[in-house]
Symmetry: D2
Subunit: 152 residues, 4 copies
């Protein structure tokens, strides 16, 4: 079993975002569950690595690939917890270029708390600073800034 270090946390995300499910499975337990914050259509517990990866695909689809997570700092402890703090931004795929409405432009600072067991992540939860959850709920809503419903 690998020691829990900031580098291992980074590697886990690299594997997750690689699109290579076998590589992701080196870090993320097949039964991993992840709690997306808020009450929007993708909020709540995503149960199992397949479901979680589907959600990540949805993030990329909804943002037209514009979703960016900039690392701020990573913390680990010897109780098997890691937290990665990040600045996150993205624009909905349907939005006009330069859109600044909170329904279309996400700009938040938040973090993920991960619980590791035997070298793999078994549970994760996200949280957002300030009033960013309002932006997150609006961004994920099917409603654009003009109230029209958008697909994806």
């Amino acid at each position: 079993m690998s020691e829990l270090t900031p580098q291992r946390v980074k590697d886990a995300y690299d594997a997750l975002m690689s699109g290579d499910r076998a590589r992701a499975a080196e870090y993320w337990d097949p039964k991993v569950r992840f709690l997306t914050p808020g009450n929007h259509q993708y909020a709540g517990w995503h149960e199992g690595l397949e479901t979680f990866l589907d959600f990540i695909d949805k993030v990329q689809e909804a943002s037209g690939g514009s979703f960016v997570i900039d690392p701020v700092t990573i913390l680990v402890n010897d109780e098997g917890y890691s937290i990665d703090v990040n600045r996150t931004s993205g624009t909905r795929a349907h939005a006009a270029a330069g859109a600044e409405s909170p329904y279309e432009r996400l700009q938040i600072e938040g973090l993920h708390l991960l619980k590791w067991v035997n070298g793999r992540i078994v549970e994760g939860r996200g949280a957002i600073f300030g009033d960013g959850l309002t932006n997150f709920n609006q961004w994920w809503s099917p409603v654009g800034s003009d109230g029209r419903r958008v697909t994806v």
Copy 2:
């Protein structure tokens, strides 16, 4: 063209809820658009009678048929507007009997503003009194009171 009266407003809803799309079309324009309040997964403009009827089917499905709209009062004017004020309640189909969590039990008071042209409704919008929109967003969220994602 029929005169706009409280009775005609009632008849329009009876037709809408009858499941008989031909009857609904006597009152609701084929291009009617309806703005469901909030930022949950079914919020925003439902465009066209077919889409609106699909949404109403979804309400029944999500509530396991428990959605009840109790009329309080109806107002009409000679500018072609009607407003029906209602108490609305319903329990999510997945909830345990007697569930009282706002994620599972909806209990709001609100209204629909309808715009009539040539005897038929061309636009409608809902609004909710007090802090009922928070309950509405939670009720429609895919997240149950324990954070688990539920289908429908």
Copy 3:
């Protein structure tokens, strides 16, 4: 007792906004209660005409006098109800000119339901269309778009 007409509803608001409390009292019962929607610091039932007038003063103070209510339509019925539909906008007094953040700029469409007894309003409630309540909660929050707490 005066008949309930759209003109009388307009007159009631003119009296309310006149700053002349005696004139306001011709239309608004001394025990009138008004439910401001949302869960922000001025949400909930404002009990009694004095308290309600204090709230209206607060609206003017918070908006630096920029709060504008544009009428859309008025409906009355013979059960003693009136509803005035309005477009409402305003900018927080502390905001920079041209501020467009939802924490600083309010732009909503909504309505007031008033209950009249013996020619005077005894109860009122506001409601907002679309996702405007989110804007309303943000606008009333003590938090500006940069998270700094602002006075008033």
Copy 4:
């Protein structure tokens, strides 16, 4: 300068909650700023130790002393960050015994991210998992479960 350890994080909170401002000042910089999440009446940046301590007093007042923070885990790193993860609960002072409404009963899991410089905390921010921010906004709102405005 003391090394940043989980014990030092615990000591900082003990000093903060002790009511002894001199002791608090051993851990918290006089210019510390703290970002309370949400858009309720106490959300946003509390600037300076005095202002932050006033907010903590307000928490105790609003909860009638029932506010409890149960530690889950603490993480620190050598970049000067600590994060304490907690389960938090409390009941509004005005609530009836056993109140379970989200406007009266707070039950959340969240964390504080603290930035330490020269052995003292210069900045802190809170964040909440799941949909707990909705509960937090409702709990802090002046509106009780019946919509009545409450003092404190």
